[in-house]
Structures are given as structure tokens and as C-alpha cells.
Amino acid sequence: MNDTKATPPVLPTAPPSEMTKLPLGTNPDEQAAIPGLVAAIEALLRQPRRVLFQLRRPESGTLIGAMLFATLLCSLIYGLIVGTFSGREQLWAAPAKIALGLFISALICLPSLYIFSCLTGAEARLADVCGLVAGMLTLMTVLLIGFAPVAWVFSQSTDSVAAMGAFHLVFWLISTYFGVRFLCHGFVHLGARSGGGLKVWIIIFLLVTLQMTTALRPIVDKADTFLPTEKKFFVSHWAECLRK
């Protein structure tokens, strides 16, 4: 037992805060390719710098595709959990609306993110920005999957649409925080000089996603029509929900 000379683990040469400032690819592990869906999710959670490095390579298309597929899959699964609150047709409508809403929100906000990235001085190609957004969406939806069991327990224990909506909103905001953090790290490595534009974009993205929940309502509750017949802004819709 004592004669085994196990090699001690390699310690990082710099503290984590310093590591984030080092150029991407400094650590040889970051240069390892990311094969497939599971590896992409694992890398996003454990080695975000590896993902950021791979996204800058010319062959990043496969990784972006894998992350987008993971986003679709995870958002459909989380949507199914959301749909269990009302059951019936919401079991397919909620996943469809959540996946659709997420992708449309990202598409709407993508051009302005690219413009903001240029204005902040980041040397980002459109493909780089697409990759960062794909990473952000994947991280968000993977985290939502982590919240799914909690959400399911609550959806089976309450009859209040407003309470359930509030829970989902909290989970969504926590997931968005981590997704946005990944995005910001990405822009730092792309040479963004200031974060002001990016902060404005984050607010725009949040507003668009929140409005999307109203534009595609009902997501938690059941309704006679797939889409609403009346146009509303999310604040007034939420106020009405709370009054009910």
C-alpha cells in the first residue's frame, strides 16, 4: 500500500481569477477538441475556456451545431416539465413554445449583439458571436434541466398559476445569469474594451425573452387557443395574473 508512488495532480500555475485573464489555449487541455454533445455540455460546465478556445477555431461549426441541438433538446425537456402543471395539450404546447421562444429571442437579439461587440472594439466575427450565443443558450437550458425536478415537485403541489410562473421565472433568471456570464467571458477574450454596450444588450435580451413569455402565452396555464388573441406587454400581463 505504501509503495505505490501515485503522481500528484498537476496544480494550476495561476489562481482561477488570473487564469481567466490568460490567453485562450495557454493550458494544453483547452486545445483538446470537443467531440459531441455530452462533451460540449461537460466542457461548458467545467472548462468554459476550452469551449471559448474551440469556438475561435475555423472548424467551430460542428461545436456550435452540437450546442444548438443540446439547447433544443434541453428546452423541450424543460418545456415538458412546465407543461405538466396544466397537462393535456400543454404537454406539447409548452415545450414547443419554450424552444421556439428561446430561438426566436436569440435570433432577434443576435444582430444587435454583433453591433455592440464591434462598438466595444471586440475582434469578433459573426461566427464567433453565434458561437457565444449558442454557448450561452446551452448553458441556460442545461441549468434549467437541473432545476426541472424542483419545478416538477412544485408544479404538482400548487394550483396557483402566478406562483408557478414566478418559480419558473426565478429559475430562468438564475440560468440566464450563468449563461450571460459565459458570454461576457467570451467577449473579454475577444478583446472587448468596455462592457457598457454588452450590459445594454443583456438588458435588451432579458426584455425580449420576458416579452416572449407574454407573446407566446399561455405557457404555464391552459387556454382555448395556441397563441393569444390580444397583444399585451409583459408587465401588464403579469399584473393581471397577480390580480387573479
Binding site: P111, I115, G121, K231, F233
Partner: protein, 241 residues
């Protein structure tokens, strides 16, 4: 990054370089008139402001979207053309020896930046309008929606304009070597462009379109009255009802 100055003349990759305000590239591009590069700027202006104009007009009706999509780029291009001689003369008069073509390219560059920003934000405006009650409905006119959409337009156009002018003043500062001179020229150009641009927007009205008036490309009396007269009249109505 030195390669950015060597992009082919009609290369869309020049637009991000413009937005970043990369000094060497902007300097090199402003020094020489290259028809293909100028054509690229015109295309970006037409597409960017055209799509934004369509987003602006679609609240009233799809046909209004087409009309505004045509008229918005027209204002920018006609303002540039109409003031080209004046702006070309103002720069040397104020102390910066720019040729007529150089000043036109510099102004086109700033309009291109504004158009690219507006074009990129147009999906957000489309989404905003899609979520708003129809302009013809009582809800749209009476609620805060109308004000909110108008304010969004003002904020976006102001943001695009300010960003474009910040880049333009940086370029002028680099060309002249003086911050004060650069701001003087920018102010002179801005004053001329605002003066003509606001009148052109009056002539080419409507842009959002009023639900109480018929849908048309131009009002029946586009050259009757002017922007400044209407501002004075509005002020008079407000002060002496």
C-alpha cells in the same frame, strides 16, 4: 489588424472595422475616393435604414412599411448629396484641408455606421410592433404603447446618430491633429445636415403613419410649408391656445 485597411473595396468585412473605429483603416479609407467602397456604403445605408424604416412603418400597415422602407434611405442619401458641396467647403474654411470627395466619404462613413446600427436593431423594432396593439385600435393610441414605441425610435436613432458622430469626430481629429478643430467641423456639418435632413423628413412624411389619415406615399401637399414653420406653429398653439 493592419490587413483591415487592405480589404477589397466591396467587402462587407469593412463594416465591423468601421464600427470599431479602427484608426489606421478609417484614415486610409477617408484619404481616397474609391467608387466600389462608396457603393458599399450606399448599399449598407439603403439596406440598414430601409429595413429600419420598414419596421417603423409596419405598425400602421404593410404598405406603409414599404413606403417608409423607401423613404428613410432617401432622406439619408439626399441629405448627403444636398450638403456635399457645403460640407466640402466648410472643412477647408474651418482649417482642415479635406477635398470635396474626402469630406463626402467621411460623412458617408458616419451614415454607414448609423445605418448598420439601425439595421441591426430593426428585428427588435419588428418584435416590439408585433407585440403592440394595432395602431388603428383605440388601445394603441390611448395607452402608453404609442409613447413607448415612439420613445424607442427616438432612443435608437439617437444612439445610432451619437455613435456615428463619435466615430466621425475621432476620424476628423486624426486627420486634423486637433480636437477643437475636429469638433468645429463636426458641429458645422451636423448643423447643415440637421437643417436639411429635418426639412426632407417633413417633405417625405408620413413615416409611422396616422390611423386617421389615408395610407399614402406622400401627403397631398409635400412641398407646402416647412418643418420649421410647423414647429413655430406648434409652439404658438402650445403657448397661446
Amino acid at each position: 489588424m493592419q490587413m483591415s485597411a487592405t480589404y477589397a473595396n466591396f467587402d462587407l468585412r469593412q463594416i465591423p472595422v468601421l464600427l470599431r473605429g479602427h484608426p489606421e483603416s478609417l484614415d486610409a479609407w477617408a484619404q481616397r475616393w474609391e467608387t466600389k467602397r462608396v457603393l458599399l456604403y450606399v448599399v449598407v445605408i439603403v439596406v440598414g435604414t430601409g429595413v429600419y424604416g420598414a419596421a417603423m412603418g409596419c405598425w400602421r400597415a404593410p404598405l406603409q412599411a414599404i413606403y417608409t422602407g423607401i423613404k428613410f434611405p432617401l432622406i439619408v442619401l439626399l441629405t448627403t448629396l444636398g450638403n456635399a458641396f457645403l460640407n466640402g467647403m466648410l472643412a477647408p474654411l474651418l482649417g482642415l484641408n479635406l477635398s470635396f470627395r474626402q469630406s463626402s466619404v467621411a460623412i458617408l462613413m458616419s451614415f454607414t455606421i448609423a445605418a448598420a446600427i439601425l439595421g441591426a436593431f430593426s428585428p427588435l423594432i419588428f418584435f416590439l410592433v408585433w407585440n403592440a396593439p394595432p395602431l388603428s385600435s383605440r388601445a394603441a393610441m390611448s395607452s402608453a404603447t404609442y409613447q413607448f414605441i415612439l420613445l424607442s425610435h427616438v432612443a435608437l436613432i439617437a444612439f445610432a446618430g451619437v455613435t456615428a458622430n463619435v466615430r466621425l469626430v475621432q476620424l476628423l481629429q486624426r486627420l486634423s491633429g486637433s480636437g477643437i478643430l475636429a469638433r468645429k467641423i463636426l458641429f458645422a456639418w451636423l448643423a447643415g445636415n440637421l437643417f436639411l435632413g429635418s426639412q426632407l423628413s417633413w417633405n417625405l412624411r408620413p413615416f409611422v403613419g396616422s390611423p386617421n389619415l389615408p395610407l399614402e406615399f406622400l401627403r397631398p401637399n409635400p412641398f407646402q410649408g416647412n418643418f420649421y414653420e410647423s414647429v413655430v406653429q406648434a409652439a404658438r398653439h402650445l403657448l397661446f391656445p
